[in-house]
């Protein structure tokens, strides 16, 4: 284990409060939790790519930013109209 992998582990542990929010709070609060979880997972992917010395894995993190962005916008639009 190096500092990059420790950092990634800590970031992944930070998803627990987001999950708690998704389970216990309202739907809009869950959407906010999803946003933070998306940010945490993206940054954890960056740290994992660096920790494993696989620079090509960084592309997954780049894709994750935009996938998370589009997904959250779609959910927000859906919630605004239907839920």
């Amino acid at each position: 284990m190096n500092v990059w992998l420790w950092g990634a582990t800590a970031l992944l542990a930070g998803m627990l409060p987001c999950g708690w929010l998704a389970v216990r709070a309202s739907r809009v609060d869950a959407l906010v939790g999803l946003q933070v979880a998306g940010t945490l997972s993206t940054l954890a992917l960056v740290l994992l790519a660096e920790g494993f010395h696989r620079s090509s894995y960084m592309g997954v993190a780049v894709a994750s930013v935009f996938a998370s962005f589009v997904g959250i916008l779609l959910i927000a639009r859906f919630m605004g109209r239907h839920v």
Binding site: V3, L11, V28, L40, L43, V46, L47, A76
Partner: protein, 94 residues
């Protein structure tokens, strides 16, 4: 431990601490707007600290540029997501 390693440790430690602080803020705050504030803080400073750590480690090579691109992308799309979410809240409360 060299200054190079120390700089990386400090940058990653600060970034992770900032992100975890935002996670705590999500749970502690009671209003969705307050929670949104913490969610957007998570996309502002910590990604740049992680990008700086990667640049210190790798210099301006492909991983460093990608990490910086990710930090900029998070910084730019964060307010758009916050606006969309706040709009949903306003619609539901109206």
């Amino acid at each position: 431990m060299s200054a190079h390693d120390l700089a990386i440790d400090v940058l990653i430690g600060a970034a992770v601490a900032g992100e975890l602080l935002c996670c705590v803020g999500l749970v502690v705050m009671r209003d969705v707007y307050d929670r949104l504030h913490y969610a957007m803080a998570a996309t502002a400073v910590p990604p740049f600290l992680i990008a700086a750590a990667v640049v210190v480690e790798e210099d301006w090579t492909q991983p460093g540029i990608n990490a910086f691109l990710i930090a900029v992308a998070l910084f730019v799309v964060g307010p758009v997501i916050a606006h969309a979410t706040a709009r949903v809240v306003r619609t539901r409360r109206a």
